[in-house]
Amino acid sequence: MIRAALATALTLAVPSPARAFTPDVDYAVHCQGCHLADGRATPGSVPALAGTVARLARTPAGRDYMARVPNVAQAPLGDAELAALLNWVVRRFAGPEAAASFTPYGAEEIAKLRAEPLVDVQAARRALLPDSAAR
């Protein structure tokens, strides 16, 4: 009972903030500080988005992972804004072929995914991208 109530509470949608920015601005403010404007890796510190997002976007597990990574799931953005930001990231970094076949995230999907904490990020990443640097 308590567990069900907790699950309901966790899946409540995060409302949009008072001011909503365009996805490119949200990327600059919330992601670019580490992932840089072009999504390249900083070896030893930050893994690449460029070349990685396309691989993640291809599978359901990768799709879930992208929305559950801590700094994505916990970004101070409403569900609709976060969905728009992730869809922008896929368009920007996955390349035209992968982006064209990608079904965009919706706000409800984001609400559900961000309510399921990803506890061991590195293990999840290793399972999805075994040949990719963890940072």
Binding site: R19, A20, F21, T22, P23, D24, V25, A28, V29, H30, Q32, G33, C34, L36, A37, T42, P43, G44, S45, V46, N71, Q74, P76, E81, A84
Partner: protein, 181 residues
């Protein structure tokens, strides 16, 4: 026969080219190009432009005011900075002091420019590789979060991916104008 004609045509072109150019002139132009090309990376706009994606905002109206002075904590771009101001340390609001390396990983916030009333995306890159500057310390915290929300905290040292983790000062580079959906 056709071959003779071709030979003569090439000879005329070669002699004409030799008459119309001088080795000294060529060397002078080459030297100008080489010096100019070498100087390009020294221009402040180029050195700061890794992420610059918009024209510089209008700051003329702020001349003479604290909000327009990069050496003051009140400078409008400093609304979320925490550190020593590079403009007081041999650099500028866009460039690191000589002998330091700008960290590409950075803390990013937004500030309102009082000259035009627009919000701008500001990147507070640390300049790394020398000890703390010690001049013009500034700490402002607009939209900054506690340290347990690390990506939104400006107390952290942001010298990641640099040769040295020693931080000297921080710049405040404009990345673009905030646009709302």
């Amino acid at each position: 026969m056709a071959s003779d004609g071709l030979d003569r045509w090439i000879e005329r072109r070669a002699r004409g080219l030799a008459r119309g150019t001088s080795r000294r002139g060529f060397l002078a132009r080459l030297g100008t190009f080489a010096v100019g090309a070498a100087g390009l990376p020294l221009l402040p706009v180029v050195r700061a432009s890794a992420g610059e994606r918009a024209p510089a905002p209008d700051e003329v109206a702020l001349a003479g005011k604290p909000e327009g002075d990069p050496k003051r904590c009140e400078y409008w771009r400093h609304c979320a900075i925490d550190g020593f101001l590079c403009a007081c340390c041999g650099g500028s609001q866009n460039t690191c002091p000589p002998g330091t390396e700008m960290s590409s990983i950075t803390w990013i916030g937004t500030c309102k420019n009082p000259a035009d009333g627009k919000d701008y995306i500001i990147s507070y890159n640390d300049c790394c590789g020398q000890s703390l500057c010690g001049r013009c310390q500034c700490q402002r915290t607009e939209r900054e979060k506690p340290v347990y929300i690390t990506p939104k905290n400006n107390d952290a040292l942001w010298c990641f991916g640099t040769k040295s983790r020693a931080v000297q000062c921080s710049v405040a580079v404009v990345l673009g104008v905030v646009t709302e959906s």
